[in-house]
Symmetry: C2
Subunit: 344 residues, 2 copies
DNA sequence: CTGAAAGCGCTAACAT
DNA sequence: ATGTTAGCGCTTTCAG
């Protein structure tokens, strides 16, 4: 249906090699020839087949991007950053939404290999743990975003999760809170423990009993946050401050607090993590820990590009297997305040 | 680096044809042979090359999905629906984020053709208008989601935008509002006019002067909504109710109202469009028009699948060039109320 | 049941 | 400057 290079060649009265040269702009051609080729291609509406080219050139100019949950606004931001960075080099993105399903993550890994993408960016925090051996012997360049594979050396970029947790705790403490709780993601999630560790560190630094920190765990969405907060409130009803795993859980937590007849931040303060676009617009505006998705996306793509040009694996010996940790910062908004009973 | 079918064949002591048959499960093979092939493939960690297969089979098992702006939460919802529907058939999604840039949309159209995707779903409302002639002669199956190309018959699915606009207006009117305004997207956007038309229809039905409707237009994000509302408030300071193009603009509008020293919904009511997940969590919870992204995604993929199996173009004669319009409904939350001065 | 061989559409030596 | 040719890795007749 669509015309091939042979059609163009025939029409222009030249060989396919010439067409290829002219159209890809490498290797000279007599102006007259070039003219005829271009014209023939135009007439035929010729578009070179990327798949044929990929087979020949052994590069698909495509990256795979696996995300935990595209409906968590953090990921669209990352997707955008990745795509923006990739687009410049003519790369396209095969998007794989794990939808919080670990099996699906694994399936996508295979799919991406089969498709021979030039590299994959994994931003699925639960993936590192489960597919360790796969990652250790990955047949293509891999870079990890906000997730790590214990024991596997792969280029990775992540926010400073423990610093973030600590910032959250310190903020709460500095406000005067003493009965602090935390909401965390399911165990399969890799960042959860780090953020929690940070919270504990912050508590300890303030002389509080970190070991006694009440923690509730659930899925990392609004509904999960709501459930987790309900649970936390049941276990530790006198909690006045809460550090949530992410913004979505924080939003859910605020709902649970309200459903319990209390007010945010008057009765309980909550701080999120991510600083998603909409965090500023929820009720009340969310105090949270901001991370730089743009930097993550750019960096990840740069690493992949590097790996591709070396034509090596992400974990290639001699390659830069850097693991960068991005600084995070606290954004104070309306969901945190001094606990009642404390003078302003 | 990765092994090919020839490697497997050599190792199993059979021909590549046999390997192909065994591994793809078509055509019988003596159990012993099959065994040897499977074992060889396993040993070698053989993964068939999708690109070679695509070249031979003339299908990439990939759909392209062009969205206006992945950071607008409406689109991740759609992406999810599309991916869920496509995944079942082993299809992957090449995601193209136009990022509100019409040029970029066009570039992606070409990219998708070059990649020989099996079909493309266009959910970029500004695309239909600009690339009409391209769409009219699209070299591959196309389906339009929430956008239309005037004069081009292509399968399309969209929310009933005029009904939605009307619902919004009627809601405001029924609350007692008389000085109503509207916020719309830039002219390049195709749904804007329909929604606006609906708003006017609702006004007229209530005996109000639709022609006098104050309208401000800006980019379809939070910032755009904020600017547009500011403008509207300047032009029509006595406005008490506003219908926004989408939820993001509505959120921006609420900010502008507040910045102007007024309260939502006490001084001005605002209604959005989309019913994005987070609409329920903003301050105040947004009254909005809900549409079904899941249905859209499912339908779009089904049409593409159909077109692929017919191996025809989306607009193929005889093909179902259906244009479906999905019903929408009003979701009343906290951003709308009776205007002050009217008894409850 | 299995193998030989052609060919999908392109690029890159290698000739000429 | 241009043409010939050999594949890239797979599937699929067509023979045997």
């Amino acid at each position: 249906m669509t015309s091939t290079i042979a059609d163009v060649a025939a029409r222009a009265g030249v060989s396919t090699a010439t067409v290829s040269r002219v159209l890809s702009g490498v290797g000279g051609a007599r102006p007259a020839t070039r003219e005829r080729v271009v014209e023939a291609a135009r007439m035929l509406g010729y578009r070179p087949s990327g798949v044929a080219r990929s087979l020949k050139l052994r590069t698909t100019r495509t990256y795979g991007l696996i995300v935990t949950d595209i409906e968590n606004p953090f990921f669209p931001e990352l997707v955008r950053a990745v795509e923006d960075a990739a687009r410049g080099d003519g790369y396209a993105i095969l998007l794989c939404n794990a939808a919080d399903d670990p099996d699906r993550e694994g399936a996508y890994l295979d799919l991406l290999v089969d498709r021979r993408v030039d590299g994959v960016i994994i931003a699925a925090s639960s993936l590192g743990g489960r597919h360790r051996e796969w990652l250790a012997a990955a047949p293509l360049p891999v870079v990890l975003v906000n997730c790590s594979a214990p024991g596997v050396r792969l280029p990775s970029i992540a926010s400073d999760n423990v610093a973030g947790g600590r910032l959250a705790a310190e903020h709460l403490v500095s406000l005067g809170h003493r009965r602090i709780g935390a909401l965390t993601a399911p165990p399969r999630n890799a960042d959860g423990p780090d953020r929690l560790r940070g919270v504990r560190a912050g508590l300890e630094a303030a002389g509080l009993d970190a070991a006694a920190l009440p923690v509730a765990s659930d899925e990392a969405g609004v509904a999960g946050g709501e459930r987790a907060m309900r649970e936390l409130l049941a276990a530790a009803p006198d909690t006045t401050g809460v550090a949530a795993y992410n913004d979505l859980m924080a939003i859910g937590a605020m709902r649970a607090v309200r459903a319990d007849g209390r007010l945010v931040p008057r009765d309980v303060s909550v701080v999120g993590f991510d600083d998603v676009d909409l965090a500023a617009f929820v009720d009340p505006p969310l105090t949270t820990i901001a991370q730089s998705t743009a930097d993550m996306g750019r960096w990840a793509v740069a690493r992949l590009k590097e790996a591709v040009s070396r034509n090596g694996n992400g974990a290639t010996p001699g390659g830069s297997t850097a693991e960068v940790i991005l600084p995070v910062h606290l954004v104070v908004r309306g969901s945190t305040a001094r606990p009642v009973g404390l003078a302003g």
